[in-house]
């Protein structure tokens, strides 16, 4: 393999990964745009049949998924990866290999989603919101959708890992003197973005795991008429609403950087902006999601409550926009390209945001919901505000990324044509407030034809204008004028050359060369392994050789895991695990902090699953008592075994804390043995359920089966993972790791293991005693 390719596949450097995210997200942006153009052509005139209905439905679904999840969200992460460490004076991310892993999982997941088009039956065609029961295996048949949803699971994992990584980085690795007050606005907004993502994506992951379980295993979570549809709605939109702020906040961060630089004055009311975003937007964003569900038939009181909370959340945005605009007063404004895009973004956000206030009314929503009014609103904020803001950021940072200046004329043309054609494309949609979304075609009598034609023309111009951006990027890289180190006169740390070693160098990543001192092939190997495994899962209900692929995925997974362990044993990626003494994490070590953040996301995933179990039980009219099904004494034994294994794990930790390696091994083996006993009892119970009991009790026999087997199965999967980690620890001990001074690996394992115990403490009463 050539050195160049190898370099990019194995890099763990944050700047390289930032570039990879830029390229990856722009690629997916092009794919999503092509799908959009196809849709707009189809909608150009009434009774059109440019695409078939099936093709159109797939296009609209993947357009939404790809644009929001594989283009916009990662584009924000691209900025975060490249610039946050520079802005806070950190040498790299907290966990570089995990950072690379995030990218490759994201990329492979995206390929899986696109691959769905080429499988028999085509890709998912349920709309990006994947509403149930439409997206279950009864109505949405074929391996394509299953594969696309698996790709989504990978994306969810990728972003959750990134959230943990970047949050620990900013919390922990700021250079001395960079207090929270001195952290620049982009980094602050990336932190806010990830605080949204941190608990939103676990909800999506829980929902997708349940969905794939329905599709592949035949469970009934969403297919039942006991509120299956609303279960999906709640879990999905609990993710969906914070997600739109994940998309928006990086753009606001860029605007907050650009405005003061090009207005020659400090950002007005900077602390107020931060307070409004951190204390109001972030928490409230988790409390408004039901405004996507106003007319689904939920209780009127909930409609009213969420209408109020949605209205409340517009207030901090008022503060932010007001402060942005105040920055234009008492200023000397340079209308350079980044500034034009920032101002354009604010204008489009104002229009989009005001239309959002219309949608916060549960009475007005009766007419607007499911129509092109919503389409107009969401594109004004997600394309208008977010993309214009991020493009402004791209132009702003292009001199830093490439060392060269872009072509001014092309960029001006790009802005002007984009801004005008954007409004031609989306403004007419406000008037189409009676035209339903996601319809393949419409009748001539409805006089929607003219507005749709205008929108389609706008779409072509808008898409064409983005070609100017691509041309400009290529031009800049090859022929751009070499630029000053700090061409804009900005005052934040990322513009200052050569402060703290290679990371701070104004020397950009040599285009074409990755330059990471620490290379690892494990992230890309692991991502491929997971991708192959998921491909197998999607195919195995249709083709027998899907099982082969699944097996191959496991083999690759094992190979990569062993390789990773060996890398660790050879000390390649030794992370010095000290205490940082930066507020608010004065006493905790970096790796343990990462572990707690990870546990917090797992708390949410298991919490969502258990909430699902409770909800299903409450909404189902007749639910069998557990006495008739479960063997309660066995459940008690499982509890005792698991809790005792927690004791042995703690004793292992205590041993190594006092330097006793033999004790460590002894107690780890005891923990492993107890874990094995737990799994054995579990297996015995399941054997009885499948083969001994008449009628047999499986996950496909009804809702009690679905909830029990999924929840206990997920938990036991975690137990098995814990046992695999014990093997890793034992291997490391054999190679000489862990001592009285350095035992963080053991400590983090114990945290994980105890967490798994705690989850069982809820599962036991819920399934055995109810």
């Amino acid at each position: 393999m050539s050195g160049w390719l190898r370099g990019w596949l194995t890099t763990t450097n944050h700047k390289d990964i930032g570039i990879l995210y830029f390229v990856g997200s722009l690629f997916f942006g092009v794919v999503g745009a092509v799908l959009a153009i196809l849709m707009r052509v189809q909608l150009f005139s009434p009774n059109n049949n440019f695409l078939s209905p099936a093709a159109y439905d797939q296009a609209l679904t993947l357009h939404g998924l790809i644009m929001i999840l594989w283009f916009l969200s990662p584009l924000g992460l691209a900025f975060g990866n490249y610039f946050v460490p520079l802005q806070i004076g950190a040498k790299d991310m907290a966990f570089p290999r995990l950072n690379a892993l995030s990218f490759w999982i994201y990329l492979v997941g995206g390929f899986l989603a696109i691959l769905g088009f080429f499988l028999p039956g085509g890709n998912a065609s349920s709309g990006w919101t994947v509403y149930e029961p439409l997206s279950g295996s009864q109505y949405l048949t074929g391996p394509g959708p299953t594969l696309a949803f698996a790709g989504l699971i990978m994306l969810g994992v990728s972003i959750t890992v990134s959230s943990v990584n970047i949050l620990v980085t900013v919390g922990y690795m700021r250079a001395p003197g960079i207090t929270w007050r001195k952290v620049p606005m982009l980094s602050w907004f990336i932190v806010f973005m990830l605080l949204q993502a941190l608990f939103a994506f676990p909800s999506l992951l829980a929902a997708l795991l349940l969905l794939e379980s329905d599709r592949v295993l035949g469970t009934f979570f969403f297919a039942s008429s006991s509120g299956g549809y609303i279960l999906w709605d709640d879990l999905f939109w609990f993710f969906g609403h914070p997600e739109v702020y994940v998309v928006l906040l990086p753009a606001f961060g860029m605007i907050a950087e650009i405005l003061p630089v090009f207005s020659n004055r400090p950002l007005s009311e900077r602390n107020l902006i931060l307070l409004a975003t951190g204390a109001l937007v972030v928490p409230l964003s988790y409390l408004v999601w039901e405004h996507h569900m106003f007319i689904t038939g939920i209780d009127l009181t909930e409609d009213e409550a969420f209408s109020l909370s949605t209205l409340l959340i517009s207030i901090p945005f008022d503060i932010i926009i007001l402060s942005f605009l105040k920055t234009l007063t008492k200023a000397t404004i340079r209308l350079s390209i980044p500034m034009l895009f920032a101002l354009g973004s604010i204008v489009l956000f104002i229009i989009g945001g005001i239309s959002g206030v219309f949608l916060s009314s549960f009475v007005l929503d009766v007419v607007f919901r499911g129509t092109y009014f919503v389409v107009a609103h969401l594109h004004y904020v997600m394309v208008g505000a977010a993309i214009f803001g991020l493009f402004g950021g791209l132009y702003y940072y292009l001199p830093k990324l490439t060392g060269r200046m872009y072509h001014e004329g092309l960029a001006k043309l790009h802005f002007a044509v984009s801004f005008i054609s954007f409004n031609i494309l989306y403004f007419p949609m406000f008037f189409l407030y009676e035209m339903p979304r996601r319809i393949y075609t419409y009748q001539a009598f409805s006089d929607w034809g003219l507005l749709n034609s205008i929108a389609t023309v706008g779409a072509f111009i808008f898409a064409g204008a983005q070609i100017l951006l691509v041309i400009n990027l290529v031009y800049t890289v090859w022929w751009g004028r070499i630029s000053l180190t700090n061409p804009w006169g900005a005052t934040t740390l990322e513009w200052v050359p050569n402060i703290m070693g290679a990371s701070q160098s104004h020397e950009p990543t040599h285009i074409g060369e990755a330059h990471s001192e620490l290379q690892s092939s494990r992230p890309v190997e692991l991502s491929v392994a997971i991708g192959v495994g998921f491909l197998g899962v999607a195919l195995l209900t249709y083709y027998a050789w899907g099982w082969l692929l699944l097996g191959l995925g496991f083999v690759l997974l094992g190979y990569t895991a062993v390789g990773w362990a060996r890398d660790d044993a050879n000390g390649v990626f030794h992370i010095a695990d000290e205490v940082s003494e930066t507020w608010p994490f004065n006493r905790i070590t970096k790796v343990r902090l990462g572990m707690w953040v990870f546990i917090a996301t797992e708390v949410f995933i298991f919490g969502a699953i258990l909430s699902t179990d409770i909800f299903i039980r409450v909404s189902t009219s007749s639910w069998p008592s557990s006495v008739g099904i479960q063997d309660i004494p066995l459940g008690l034994w499982e509890t005792v075994v698991l809790v005792t294994s927690g004791v042995t794990a703690l004793l292992a930790l205590e041993s190594i804390k006092s330097g006793d390696r033999r004790g460590l091994v002894r107690w780890l083996l005891a923990t492993m043995a107890l874990g094995a006993v737990f799994i054995a009892i579990n297996a015995y119970e399941w054997y009885n359920f499948f083969f001994v009991r008449v009628p047999s009790f499986t996950w496909a026999t009804g809702l009690p089966g679905s909830t029990y087997f999924f929840s206990v199965g997920l938990h036991s999967g975690h137990v098995l993972a814990g046992m695999a980690i014990i093997s890793y620890l034992l291997y490391r001990v054999k190679r000489g790791a862990y001592s009285k001074e350095s035992y963080s690996g053991v400590q983090n394992f114990v945290l994980f293991w105890l967490f798994v115990d705690v989850v069982w403490l809820f599962i036991f009463p819920l399934f055995y005693l109810a």
Binding site: G127, L134, G297, L322, L328, K330, V367, T441
Partner: protein
């Protein structure tokens, strides 16, 4: 648009447009004020070529916390406006809550891929055609046989999701004779765009005539209309449907 200009606006339409106009006017005003402010300052403070203006003086408080009191005052105004429109929303729940003290006509609506089936009080099922008398309150109990649909009569500004396993209620009162379009506005599969129906509003006497001749349940024409003939005026088992084609 699908909204035909009606001489007398139906009650639900009145409620909805009344509320909409509050939001529209205030939203427009807010947007205009803010955008004007923005464009004015962006243009006025532009750096002119060759001109050097002295750097503006900022008191310490202008940067980090700024004139936060001024911001709070503006927030008080915007907060009041928002509270006002929200109050108007709460006062308009008459759109989604059936009026009390009246005895509406109860009709069940069953959505299934890709038809609307109407079950009248005498138990007769009609596919695609909802016939009601003018000026009477009608209460629809909407449900679905398969996936989630959304029952929508755009002209009357009423809509509600049709979900499997549950009944959702919506009401209306048609004040003008004629035919109106019924659509589905929740994506429900490949035939979603074909899932239409017709609302026919008759005079009370014509309605009584029609209703009394509504026959006992028999097979609806064509069984499962999966390929989209549901939009046409249904030549089903109901006899004297007097209206013309859909609007």
């Amino acid at each position: 648009m699908l909204t035909s200009p009606l001489d007398v606006q139906p009650p639900t339409d009145t409620i909805w447009y009344g509320l909409f106009h509050y939001y529209l006017f205030l939203g427009f005003a807010a947007g205009t004020i803010v955008l004007t402010f923005m464009v004015y300052h962006a243009v006025r403070n532009r750096e002119k070529k060759g001109e050097t203006r002295p750097a503006p003086k900022f008191e310490k408080r202008e940067g980090e916390w700024g004139n936060w009191k001024g911001t709070m005052m503006i927030l008080l105004v915007t907060g009041s406006v928002l509270a006002f429109v929200e109050f108007q929303t709460f006062a308009s729940t008459g759109l989604v809550v059936p009026p009390r003290g009246v005895d509406p006509i109860h009709i069940e609506v069953i959505g299934r891929q890709w038809d609307w089936i109407f079950v009248y009080p005498n138990g007769v099922q009609v596919i695609g055609n909802l016939t009601v008398p003018e000026g009477e309150d009608v209460l629809l109990n909407v449900t679905s046989l398969d996936v989630v649909h959304s029952f929508d009569i755009p002209t009357l500004s009423v809509a509600k999701d049709a979900v499997p396993g549950h009944f959702n209620a919506l009401w209306f009162n048609a004040t003008e004779l004629g035919s109106y379009l019924i659509i589905c506005k929740e994506f429900c599969g490949i035939g979603h765009y074909l899932m239409t129906g017709t609302l026919t509003v008759l005079t009370p006497s014509a309605y009584n005539q029609w209703y009394s001749s509504l026959q006992a349940p028999n097979n609806s024409g064509g069984g499962g209309n999966d390929t989209g003939t549901a939009g046409e005026v249904s030549s089903s088992n109901s006899s004297a449907t007097s209206s013309a084609g859909s609007e």
